[in-house]
């Protein structure tokens, strides 16, 4: 009897203890900052929908689709959190295969503007698999570097990590999507740095990359990519050509002032002067309508989010977790700097989305999965105690 009665009680105890421990280890701050940033993204989707003159509450608007994707992202986040991340280590090679498969699939069946192939259309939705590929890349690299974390002084390990990045990078370059391929490179650099790899070899690697820039410039980059890369240096002379977006974007940002013109009142966006205002240039709308204060709030949220990711990396006892967090932080930081820098005219135009804020399901869901994995890592570090 006692035994019989004791069984469920233990189970209950175990469950209570487990959920409590998991909840304590769950980084609520991290989730909050991410949620707030996603909310900013929804607000921007709302204002852009209103400005386009359509009814805001309509299945076709950016805002409603944004809401749906936020829901999907929430579910993805919960599932990823619940999922034991350690399986990822086991499934590292299949993950790599999945990543390459998705990118190849995009190339084969994807659509894009002109001859490009950047997203895949599935029914009413389009999905940019390269966003998910970034998270999968982090998983693969984290696993590889974690397995070899005793051999990080060796050039072989570092080069092998680089070699792992090359196939997906090439697949993305072919799309062509220069921005995402640069993100891959940034993830690799950030993870190598945080893994504690030999400074000597990292310096050598950096020198090599710098030396290869002229070669890439001459043989790999397309003309429009070069034009976009350079136009930020001097946008005003050709304000009707490639410098147009940049010029308009700076005007939008600049006219925001301290507090901005208020949501849906952005004259630049309303007049349709701003190209791609819901995606790559979403920050210019934010800066125009919410002003310096709005922009600052967003920066602070990003800084806090990155802080929580770094804390997770530091606290983690598992090299995989540390490296995964590092990769995620590198990705978010790089995208933030390049996107916002681009909008404000201090970075070249590359077409990199602003994490959480840029409208786009793939980006948001992939980030949710990434953060979910991070939470999974957080809550599963204490399990060794019991």
């Amino acid at each position: 009897m006692g035994v019989i009665r004791a069984e469920p009680a233990r189970v209950t105890d175990w469950a209570a203890k487990s959920v409590g421990a998991a909840w304590r280890a769950f980084d609520l701050q991290l989730a909050t900052y991410a949620g707030l940033l996603a909310a900013i993204g929804l607000v921007m989707a709302y204002t852009n929908s209103a400005e386009n003159g359509a009814a805001v509450i309509d299945a076709s608007t950016t805002f409603i689709r944004g809401l749906m994707w936020a829901g999907v992202a929430g579910v993805a986040f919960i599932i990823a959190t619940a999922f034991d991340y350690k399986w990822l280590k086991t499934l590292s090679w299949p993950t790599y295969a999945l990543q390459l498969g998705l990118l190849a699939f995009t190339l084969a069946f994807g659509d894009g503007i002109g001859n490009s192939a950047r997203w895949v259309t599935l029914g009413p939705f389009t999905f940019q698999f390269s966003e998910l590929a970034k998270i999968l890349m982090i998983v693969v690299l984290a696993d590889y570097l974690a397995r070899n974390h005793h051999k990080l002084d060796s050039l072989g390990t570092i080069l092998s990590a680089c070699v792992l990045v090359v196939p997906p990078l090439i697949l993305v370059m072919i799309q062509p999507d220069l921005g995402t391929s640069l993100v891959f490179a940034a993830i690799l650099a950030g993870m190598l740095w945080m893994s504690g790899a030999s400074l000597k070899w990292l310096a050598a690697l950096a020198a090599t990359v710098v030396a290869m820039v002229p070669i890439a410039w001459n043989y790999l980059l397309l003309d429009y990519q070069k034009e976009r890369l350079t136009s930020f240096l001097n946008p005003t002379p050709d304000i009707t050509g490639s410098g147009y977006q940049l010029y308009q974007s700076q005007i939008a940002v600049g006219s925001g002032g301290w507090f901005g013109s208020g949501l849906t009142n952005g004259t630049q966006a309303q007049g349709d002067f701003l190209p791609v205002q819901t995606t790559d240039f979403v920050f210019s709308v934010l800066a125009e309508e919410l002003g310096f204060i709005g922009g600052l709030v967003m920066f602070v949220l990003f800084a806090l989010l990155l802080w929580r990711v770094l804390v997770a990396a530091w606290r983690c006892r598992d090299p995989f977790g540390t490296l995964f967090a590092s990769g995620l932080a590198s990705m978010i930081l790089f995208q933030l700097v390049v996107n916002v820098g681009m909008v404000m005219g201090i970075m070249p135009i590359t077409g990199i989305p602003l994490p959480f804020v840029t409208h786009g399901g793939a980006s948001l869901v992939s980030l949710a999965i990434g953060l979910g994995i991070l939470q999974s890592i957080n809550i599963r570090q204490t399990r060794a105690e019991w």
Partner: protein, 632 residues
């Protein structure tokens, strides 16, 4: 870090790498914040201004164009609202252009080539509207408006078009308005002219463009990236309507002039002629008719290429105002210059007799009297009255070419009169300097003879000719002919009143001109002008016949005829001893080749109509064609 967990060594965590990474985050966010501050706070005002400037634009509000009235206040032109079809090339996708143009052409029932020509000739930028059709009727405009979905870039606009009350009667004077050309726009853009403006293209519409146009207003208009108007925000400046013109022209006189000229032209079968009537005391033009002419309403409605080419290719140049924009040999009318010069330079007195005969010989050349007989010894009254060629050859010989040219210039020949109409030509007064420059030789004595009777190199405009006789009629004051009497502002106030514009006084004693006036009267009295003397009014004047062009198979040249006549202030009882004439009329009958002087018949008819003379003194038999150089 020596903690072990589950037998695994804890990962080596390098704090320095975290610090560097954290610093990178701080640096990145700091840089972005600094840049944001720089754009929004430091330069915010500037960017806000740029944003405002490109988001909104000042658009012109066209001012109602000024009206034109005749001297008695009769309205000659008014503005009527019409539909125009305009295209904004930037909104017309290149791949759809052929299709859209074809559809639009079908709706408008015009040639697609005309639409294409209008779009390609767009003086403004691709974002500016181009007018492809004017004066489209309401039904077509509605159809096009309704089909706008299939006609991207096509807009229906309401604009004011000029409606000329009398059409061809006044076309040469009023001119017309039309779409601004690229060249005109380049010159006028800084003055606020718009790429789709209608501006004066000829006549007074062109001459007084600035006054008639008024001052365009402006409104601030919100626009989107493509430049399309989204809404009018506010009117910044109201348009000020253009000033109105009140002409010196009397519609009745103009009609009479046209009627007289047309009568003769139809009778003779000639195709080009001019009649001008002026007040010699003021230089006011009462009537100015140049035929053939055109209908300026066709231009105001947007003339078709076909019709325009027809006008351009007509050998009689209907688009030219032959009264001022073409010059002709003046023939014997020029003897006014020779006679005045000889008297003023004291080469003769009013009683000096000079032998006239069948011909004069100069070297091997014979210079014939026009009747091949002469009148024996003749004074100026006789010589001018009979229009003796041998008399005036000799006077020209006495004066010499340079003095002859001097007196021609005194009468205003050789330079534009300055009448307020565009495109006036100067004519030619030959002298040694002119010939040296134009032909590289001095004037031969024979050429001086020719110049003395208005042949050879002499070339005058009909307006110069009547103006010269005007100076004779008014006692020696050469006025600038005027066609606009006053300019009246939109508030009804006279902006510029009428004042005769004296060019100069002839450097000649009044007695000389009195002699010449009586000599001119003698032309009529001697019946050189047939029955002109029989009219119940007193007319003095001078006829002329001038050869031009190429000789026919029998060596005869075609010729034109002139007559200028004026009446005293009291036409029935006045005297030409006085210089009080208030009406001078001239006619030019190009290539007339009639038995009598065609121009004289035209002027006679005009006087009959003008003074309401019931009896008809016209002599149609004089207007029969002949190739004989019969009457001078």
């Amino acid at each position: 870090m020596n903690t072990y967990l589950g037998g695994h060594p804890a990962p080596e965590r390098r704090f320095s790498r975290y610090v560097v990474f954290a610093l990178a985050v701080v640096l990145a966010v700091g840089t972005l914040t600094a840049r944001l501050f720089y754009l929004q706070i430091t330069n915010g005002t500037e960017y806000a201004a740029i944003s405002n400037r490109q988001r909104t634009v000042l658009e012109a509000i066209p001012a109602p164009r000024g009206q034109i009235y005749d001297r008695h206040g009769r309205m000659l032109v008014k503005n009527v609202p019409t539909f125009a079809i305009k295209v904004r090339p930037a909104d017309l996708p290149a791949e759809m252009r052929d299709e859209v143009v074809a559809r639009l052409a079908a709706l408008l029932a015009i040639d697609p080539a005309e639409i294409n020509a209008a779009i390609d000739g767009n003086p403004g930028s691709a974002f500016d509207l181009v007018r492809v059709a004017q004066d489209v009727d309401r039904t077509k405009a509605q159809l096009i408006s309704e089909a706008s979905f299939d006609l991207p870039g096509v807009e229906v606009a309401v604009e004011a078009r000029r409606q000329y009350s009398d059409g061809p009667l006044m076309s040469q004077l009023l001119g017309y308005t039309g779409p601004i050309s690229a060249e005109e726009l380049a010159d006028l853009r800084d003055d606020g002219f718009q790429p789709d403006d209608l501006i004066g293209k000829a006549g007074l519409e062109k001459q007084y463009e600035t006054e008639l146009r008024g001052t365009y207003g402006s409104e601030r208009v919100a626009r989107d990236r493509t430049g399309r108007k989204t809404q009018v925000l506010q009117t910044e400046e109201q348009a000020i309507p253009g000033a109105s013109l009140r002409l010196t022209v009397d519609t009745r006189a103009q009609k009479n002039a046209q009627k007289a000229l047309k009568w003769a032209m139809d009778k003779i079968g000639m195709t080009r002629g001019v009649v001008i009537a002026m007040n010699p005391q003021t230089g006011e033009i009462l009537a100015m008719v140049s035929l053939p002419t055109y209908d300026n309403n066709k231009f105001a409605r947007g003339i078709s290429t076909r019709d325009f080419n027809k006008l351009l290719n007509n050998k009689d140049k209907p688009l030219l105002n032959h009264a001022i924009q073409a010059h002709y040999a003046p023939g014997s009318t020029y003897k006014l210059v020779t006679g005045t010069g000889a008297l003023a330079d004291r080469k003769i007195t009013e009683s000096t007799r000079i032998t006239t005969k069948a011909y004069l010989t100069l070297g091997d050349t014979k210079f014939y009297e026009w009747n091949h007989r002469g009148w024996g010894p003749c004074d100026i009254y006789c010589g001018f009255g009979h229009s003796s060629d041998t008399f005036f050859y000799q006077l020209a010989g006495k004066l010499g070419i340079d003095r002859l040219a001097y007196w021609a210039r005194q009468y205003g020949f050789g330079e534009p009169t300055g009448v307020d109409l565009p495109g006036e030509v100067a004519g030619i007064v030959p002298d040694n300097a002119w010939k040296q420059e134009a032909l590289g030789a001095r004037v031969f004595p024979g050429e001086t003879y020719q110049a003395g009777i208005g042949q050879g190199y002499d070339a005058v405009t009909p307006l110069q000719l009547i103006n010269a006789f005007g100076a004779l009629a008014n006692g020696g004051r050469l006025y600038q002919p005027q066609i606009v009497r006053e300019i009246v502002g939109p508030d009804g106030k006279v902006v510029r009143g009428f004042k005769p514009k004296l060019l100069h006084k002839l450097k000649v004693k009044p007695s000389v001109l009195q002699t010449m006036r009586n000599a001119a009267r003698n032309t009529v009295l001697l019946r050189h002008t047939y029955n002109l003397v029989d009219l119940p009014i007193k007319i003095a004047g001078k006829s002329g016949t001038a050869e031009f062009g190429r000789p026919d198979s029998k060596g005869r040249l075609p010729y034109s005829s002139f007559f200028i006549g004026f009446t005293p202030k009291d036409p029935r009882n006045g005297s030409f001893d006085k210089h009080d004439s208030e009406l001078i009329v001239m006619a030019f009958a190009h290539d007339s080749r009639t038995k009598g002087n065609a121009a004289t018949e035209i002027v006679k008819y005009f006087f009959q109509l003008h003074y309401g003379i019931k009896a008809d003194y016209r002599m149609p038999e004089l207007l029969e064609r002949t190739n004989f150089y019969s009457n001078d």
